[in-house]
C-alpha cells in the first residue's frame, strides 16, 4: 500500500460524496442521509476556490494509479458544477422528502456526483474513463428513479446510448493510450494528432462525448431522460452531466495541431443541433421536454464554438466555451428547478416564479445585461467565420422562441390549489442558482473571454444581443395571437422510427432462427447402429467352429508367408 502523494483535497472531493452515499446504504443513517445531500459537493467547491493550480495528486494503488490535477478550465467547470449540485441537492432535500425510495436516490445521486467531479479532476485517462462511466451509468438510476413506464422507456434509450458512447470512448482512449504509451491525458491528446488510427480515435471520441453533450443525431436521450427524472435530477442532468461531454471534447481533441476537418464537422453538427433542437422543441407540450431540447440547442452552440477553436486560438475559444457552459449550467439548472416550483405553487405564488423563469430565459437567449449576454458576447468574439457568426446570432431568435414556449408550457403547470406554496428551501435554492446564472459571468468574463468587461457593454454588442431577442419575442407574440395548431413530435423524435425498425429486424431474425432450429438433425446413435449390427453378424461367424478353423489355418499360412519374406 502506498499513501497518496500530493494535495489530499482532490481525493477528499471525490470521496466525500461516496461517504455520504454510503450513509444512505446503512440502515441506521438511511433516513437522515437526504439532509446531507447539499454537503456532498462542498470539498469540491472548496477545491475550486482555494485549490492550488497544477499540483498533482497521486494514488498509485487505486485503479491503474489515479492521478488528479486542477488546471485552467477544469477549475471553472469544477466550481460551477459543484455549486449546481449543491443547489440541486438543497432543492432535493425538500423536494424528495416525502417521496418513496429515498436511500437509492441519495446513494446514486452521490455516486453520479462523484463521477461528475472526477471527470474534471482526472489527469490520467483511466480515472477519466472510470469517472465518465460512473457518471453515465449512475445517472441512469436517477433517470429511472420514479419507476414509471415512461421513465423506464427513457431509461432504456438512455442506457443503450450511454453504453454505445462508453464503448466509443473506450476505443478512442485505447488508440490514444497505445499511441502515447502513457496514461496521462496531456500525452494522449498530443499523441492523437499523428497516431496510427488517430483520425478514427478522434471520430470515436467526438461521438462518445457528443452523445453525452446531446449532439445531433445522438441527442435523442435528452428529451426522454430529462423529463422523466425527478426535478432536481433533471437539473443536474441538464446543467452538469451534459457538461462532462463538453469538457471531454475540450480535454481530448488535439486543437493545437489543427484539425480543420473535424473542427468543421463539429461546427456543422453543432449548428444543426442548435437549430434542430429549437425546431423540435417548439412542438413539445411538456416544459421539461422543451428545456431538454433547449439544452440540445445550446450545447450545439458550445460544440460549434469548440469546433471553431480547432486550428485557431484554441485556448481563447475553449475559455469562451467554458463561460458559455458555466452560464448554461446555472441557468438551465435553475429553469429545471422552476418547473418543480411552479408545479408546487398556486396561482399567486407562481407569478414571481414564472417571472424569474422568464428572466432566466432572456439570459439564455442573450438579452443584454444578463449573464447570458456576456457568455454570448464572449462566444461571438471568437468566431471568425462570418457565416457561422450569423448563424450563431440568428440562433438567438430560435432560443427566444423556444424559451417563450417553455414559459407558456410552464404557466400551464401551475397547481390547481390556489394557496399552494413551494417550500422555502426549494425557492431558496432556485433563487441562488438563478442569481448565479445572471451574475456569475460578470466575475469571470475578463478571465474567460479574454476581453475587457467593457466589450460587453459596448453599444454594438448590446445591439447584437438585443435584436434577435426582440425579433424572437415579436414572433412569439404573433404566434400567441394566431395560435395555430402545432404538430406534436414525440419526445426523443428519432427514437420512435428507429425502435420500430429495430423491432422489425428483431422479429425477422427470430423467425429466421426458428426456421433454422426446425431443421431435422441426424442422431449419432443412428449412425453407430449399423456398425454395431454388422459387427454382431461378423461375431456370429467368428464363433462358428468351421469358420474359425479356416481362419486359423489362414492365419498360420499368412504368418508363414510373412516370415519367409525375409
Amino acid at each position: 500500500m502506498t499513501f497518496p502523494l500530493g494535495p489530499l483535497l482532490p481525493l477528499i472531493a471525490l470521496i466525500a460524496p461516496l461517504a455520504i452515499g454510503l450513509l444512505a446504504a446503512i440502515p441506521a443513517t438511511r433516513a437522515r442521509s437526504l439532509a446531507l445531500l447539499p454537503l456532498a459537493p462542498l470539498p469540491a467547491l472548496a477545491l475550486a476556490f482555494f485549490g492550488t493550480q497544477d499540483e498533482t495528486t497521486l494514488a498509485p494503488d487505486l485503479l491503474l494509479g489515479v492521478t488528479l490535477t486542477l488546471d485552467g478550465n477544469a477549475r471553472y467547470f469544477l466550481g460551477f458544477v459543484a455549486l449546481l449540485w449543491m443547489g440541486a441537492g438543497l432543492y432535493a432535500t425538500a423536494y424528495m422528502r416525502d417521496k418513496p425510495k429515498i436511500a437509492p436516490f441519495v446513494g446514486f445521486w452521490c455516486m453520479t456526483l462523484c463521477g461528475n467531479l472526477g471527470v474534471f479532476l482526472a489527469a490520467d485517462i483511466i480515472t477519466f474513463y472510470v469517472s465518465f462511466a460512473v457518471v453515465s451509468l449512475c445517472a441512469y438510476l436517477l433517470v429511472v428513479h420514479d419507476g414509471t413506464q415512461r421513465a423506464l422507456h427513457a431509461g432504456i434509450v438512455y442506457i443503450v446510448l450511454a453504453v454505445l458512447g462508453e464503448t466509443c470512448l473506450l476505443l478512442g482512449f485505447l488508440i490514444g493510450a497505445a499511441a502515447a504509451d502513457s496514461l496521462l491525458i496531456v500525452d494522449v491528446r498530443i499523441a492523437l494528432t499523428d497516431a496510427p488510427g488517430g483520425e478514427a480515435a478522434i471520430a470515436l471520441l467526438i461521438v462518445g462525448f457528443g452523445l453525452k453533450a446531446g449532439m445531433f443525431p445522438f441527442h435523442v436521450w435528452l428529451p426522454l431522460a430529462h423529463p422523466a427524472a425527478p426535478v432536481p435530477a433533471s437539473a443536474v442532468l441538464s446543467g452538469a452531466i451534459v457538461k462532462a461531454g463538453i469538457f471531454g471534447l475540450m480535454q481530448f481533441l488535439p486543437m493545437e495541431s489543427g484539425l480543420s476537418l473535424w473542427g468543421a464537422l463539429l461546427v456543422i453538427t453543432g449548428l444543426v443541433s442548435a437549430y434542430y433542437g429549437v425546431a423540435v422543441g417548439l412542438t413539445q407540450r411538456n416544459p421539461k421536454s422543451v428545456l431538454a431540447y433547449s439544452t440540445i440547442s445550446q450545447m450545439g452552440l458550445v460544440l460549434a464554438l469548440i469546433g471553431a477553436a480547432a486550428g485557431a486560438t484554441p485556448a481563447d475559444n475553449l475559455a469562451a466555451a467554458t463561460l458559455l457552459s458555466l452560464h448554461h449550467g446555472f441557468a438551465k439548472g435553475a429553469l429545471f428547478l422552476s418547473v418543480g416550483i411552479v408545479a408546487a405553487s398556486g396561482r399567486r405564488a407562481a407569478v414571481p416564479a414564472l417571472a424569474a423563469a422568464a428572466l432566466l430565459a432572456l439570459s439564455v437567449a442573450g438579452f443584454p445585461g444578463t449573464g447570458g449576454a456576456l457568455a454570448k458576447a464572449a462566444m461571438k468574439a471568437h468566431i471568425a467565420d462570418p457565416i457561422v457568426y450569423w448563424l450563431v446570432t440568428l440562433s438567438a431568435i430560435g432560443t427566444t422562441l423556444l424559451l417563450a414556449r417553455f414559459v407558456m408550457t410552464l404557466a400551464a403547470q401551475v397547481s390547481a390549489q390556489e394557496r399552494a406554496r413551494p417550500s422555502p428551501i426549494m425557492t431558496a435554492s432556485f433563487v441562488a442558482l438563478a442569481v448565479a446564472a445572471l451574475v456569475s459571468p460578470w466575475f469571470f468574463f475578463t478571465d474567460l473571454a479574454g476581453l475587457p468587461l467593457a466589450y460587453s457593454l459596448s453599444a454594438s454588442s448590446i445591439l447584437n444581443g438585443l435584436w434577435p431577442v426582440l425579433v424572437g419575442g415579436a414572433i412569439a407574440a404573433a404566434f400567441l395571437r394566431i395560435s395555430p395548431s402545432v404538430p406534436s413530435i414525440p419526445e426523443g423524435d428519432l427514437v420512435t422510427p428507429v425502435t420500430k425498425w429495430l423491432r422489425r429486424l428483431d422479429g425477422a431474425a427470430r423467425r429466421g432462427r426458428s426456421r433454422l432450429e426446425d431443421l431435422p438433425r441426424p442422431d449419432p446413435g443412428v449412425l453407430a447402429a449399423p456398425l454395431w449390427r454388422a459387427a454382431s453378424v461378423a461375431e456370429r461367424a467368428f464363433a462358428r467352429w468351421s469358420f474359425a478353423g479356416l481362419l486359423m489355418a489362414a492365419g498360420a499360412l499368412g504368418v508363414l508367408i510373412a516370415l519367409s519374406l525375409q
Binding site: 453407430a528 456398425l531 454395431w532 459387427a535 454382431s536 461378423a538 461375431e539 467368428f542 464363433a543 467352429w545 474359425a548 478353423g549 481362419l551 486359423m552 492365419g555 498360420a556 499360412l557 499368412g558 504368418v559 508363414l560 508367408i561 510373412a562 516370415l563 519367409s564 519374406l565 525375409q566
Partner: protein, 491 residues
C-alpha cells in the same frame, strides 16, 4: 532357490489337498494364498538383488535336463498373478464356502483355482518350450472346467467352444514345438536363442506356434470363444480367466519372438500381429459398446484390450532387429498386460458384486448403485480409468510408452488406433458408470454386500492405478534380463 520351487509346488499341492478337504478347502486356500504370494515376492526380490537366474530341475542343466528361468519379466508376471489370485481367493471364500451342505461348484472350485495358479506359475517360470506346453494344457483344462462350473446349459456350451478353440491352439503349438525339436534337437529357450536360424522349418514352427497361441489368447479374429466363456463363468473365475489366463499365452508369444526366435522375425510378421491387434481393438470395442449385460461388456473389453498387447510387435520394430524405440514398445506392452490384469480382475469382481446385489447383471439394473455400493462403483471406475488408458494409471503409462514408440518409429496409424481404442473404451465403460450414477429406479431392492468384499476389487483397481503412479519400481524389475531385442541403448 526354494521360493521358485514353492511357487510351483505350493499351489499344486494345495490343489491336491483341497480335493479331500472338501468343505474346509476355502480355509486351506486362505492359508496357502499368502504363502504363495510371499514366495512370489521372494522370487522377485531375489531377482532384484542378483539378476536373472536359471534353475536346474533335478540338478541337470539343459540340454540334459530342463530348467526354470526367472528374469524380470517372469517375476513381474509371477507377482501380478499372485496378487490377483490372492485377491480372488479372498473374494471367493464367501461365495464358494458352503458350510451347511456340499455343492458341486463349491467342491470343484478350490482345487481348480489352486491348480490354475500352479499352472500359471509354471508358465511364467518355464525355460523350456515343452514345459510351457504342459503348463498351458493344465491351464486350459482348469479354465474350461471353471467356465462350466455352474453347469447351466449356455455356460457348458461356452465351455465346450472354449475347449475346442483351446485344443486347436494347443495342437498347433505342440506341432510347432515338435518341428523345433526336430530341427534343433533342443527345447530350452536359452539354447534355442543361440541355435535358431531363419530357415523354412523354423518359419513353419513359428507360424504354427504363433497362431496357436493367438487362438488361446483370444486375439482377433480367434476371439469368439472368449466373451461367452468369460461372461458365463462365476465372477472370481472370470477374473482369473480375463486377467491371467489369456496373459499366459501372450507371455509365451513374447518369449518366442523376443527371446527364442528374434532372428526369424521380420517386419511383415510384426505387421500381421499388429493388424490383428488393430482388429481386436476396434472390433472388440464396437461390440462392447452394444452389450446389454455388464459381464459381456467387460468380456468384450478384454477382447479389445488384448489387441493392444500385440501392437507391441510392430511398434518394437519387428522383433528382428532392435530399434531405438523397441524398449519403449516392449515395456509398454508388458506394463499394459500387467495393468490390464489388475484392472480386469477388479472389474469382473465388481461385476460379480453388482450381480449379487441386484440379482442379475443386466445394465439397466445398475441404476443407482453408486448410492448403495459406492465402494464397488469407485473400484469399477478406477479400473475403467486404467482400461481407458487415462492417467494416472498403469494403462496410461503403457499407452504413453506405446504411443511414443509409434511416433518415434513413424507408425502413426497404430497411434491413432490406440487413441481411438481409448475413446471407444470410454464409451463402453461409461455406459455402466452412467447408470450407476443415475437415480435409483423405484422399488429396486438390493442385497447388501459386506464392505470388506467391496474392498477387494478396490485394492486390485488401486494396484492398476499405483502401477502408473509408482511405475519406476516395476519398470526397473522388467529391465532385469530383458531380451536383447527389446533393449534400449541402440540409439
Amino acid at each position: 532357490m526354494i521360493a521358485v520351487t514353492a511357487c510351483l509346488v505350493l499351489p499344486l499341492a494345495a490343489a491336491l489337498a483341497a480335493i479331500p478337504l472338501g468343505r474346509r478347502a476355502p480355509r486351506l486356500a486362505l492359508v496357502a494364498a499368502p504363502l504363495i504370494l510371499l514366495a512370489a515376492l521372494a522370487v522377485a526380490t531375489e531377482i532384484w538383488r542378483t539378476g536373472p537366474a536359471q534353475l536346474p530341475v533335478g540338478g541337470w542343466l539343459p540340454p540334459l535336463g530342463i530348467a526354470l528361468v526367472v528374469d524380470g519379466l517372469s517375476a513381474a508376471f509371477l507377482l501380478t498373478g499372485a496378487i490377483v489370485t490372492g485377491a480372488v481367493v479372498l473374494f471367493a471364500t464367501s461365495i464358494f464356502s458352503t458350510p451347511d451342505r456340499e455343492t458341486r461348484a463349491g467342491f470343484a472350485f478350490w482345487p481348480l483355482l489352486l491348480a490354475m495358479w500352479g499352472a500359471l506359475n509354471a508358465v511364467f517360470l518355464s525355460g523350456d518350450l515343452f514345459n510351457l506346453y504342459v503348463a498351458l494344457e493344465l491351464l486350459t483344462l482348469t479354465a474350461v472346467a471353471l467356465v462350466a462350473l455352474d453347469g447351466r446349459r449356455e455356460t457348458v456350451a461356452a465351455a465346450i467352444r472354449y475347449m475346442l478353440f483351446a485344443l486347436f491352439g494347443s495342437l498347433a503349438y505342440l506341432l510347432g514345438v515338435t518341428l523345433i525339436y526336430a530341427r534343433y534337437g533342443a527345447l530350452d529357450i536359452a539354447l534355442l536363442r543361440i541355435l535358431a536360424e531363419p530357415d523354412a522349418p523354423t518359419f513353419v514352427a513359428a507360424a504354427l506356434m504363433t497362431i496357436g497361441l493367438a487362438a488361446k489368447t483370444a486375439l482377433f479374429p480367434f476371439h469368439a470363444w472368449l466373451p461367452p466363456a468369460h461372461a458365463g463363468a462365476p465372477a472370481p473365475a472370470s477374473a482369473m480367466l480375463s486377467a491371467l489366463v489369456t496373459k499366459a499365452s501372450f507371455y509365451i508369444v513374447v518369449r518366442i519372438w523376443f527371446d527364442v526366435l528374434p532372428v526369424a522375425g521380420n517386419e511383415a510378421l510384426a505387421m500381421i500381429l499388429g493388424a490383428m491387434g488393430v482388429g481386436a481393438i476396434l472390433f472388440g470395442s464396437v461390440l462392447a459398446i452394444g452389450q446389454e449385460r455388464l459381464k459381456l461388456v467387460v468380456a468384450y473389453s478384454t477382447v479389445a484390450q488384448l489387441g493392444y498387447l500385440f501392437l507391441m510387435f510392430p511398434l518394437a520394430g519387428s522383433g528382428g532387429e532392435a530399434q531405438p524405440w523397441a524398449a519403449g514398445a516392449w515395456n509398454g506392452g508388458v506394463v499394459h498386460a500387467l495393468s490390464h490384469a489388475f484392472a480386469k480382475a477388479a472389474m469382473f469382481l465388481c461385476a460379480g458384486l453388482f450381480a449379487e446385489a441386484i440379482g442379475h447383471d443386466r445394465m439397466d439394473g445398475l441404476k443407482g448403485v453408486a448410492r448403495t455400493m459406492p465402494l464397488t462403483v469407485f473400484a469399477f471406475g478406477l479400473a475403467a480409468i486404467s482400461l481407458m488408458g487415462l492417467p494416472p494409471s498403469g494403462g496410461f503409462t503403457a499407452k504413453y510408452l506405446l504411443l511414443t514408440a509409434a511416433f518415434a518409429g513413424g507408425n502413426h496409424f497404430f497411434a491413432l488406433v490406440m487413441l481411438a481404442g481409448g475413446l471407444l473404451a470410454a464409451i463402453y465403460l461409461f455406459r455402466p458408470l452412467e447408470r450407476a450414477f443415475a437415480k435409483p429406479a423405484e422399488g429396486s431392492d438390493i442385497t447388501p454386500i459386506a464392505r470388506w468384499r467391496q474392498a477387494v476389487p478396490l485394492v486390485l483397481a488401486g494396484a492398476a492405478i499405483a502401477l502408473g503412479v509408482f511405475s519406476a519400481v516395476p519398470f526397473d524389475l522388467l529391465r532385469i534380463g530383458r531380451a536383447d531385442a527389446a533393449q534400449e541403448g541402440l540409439e
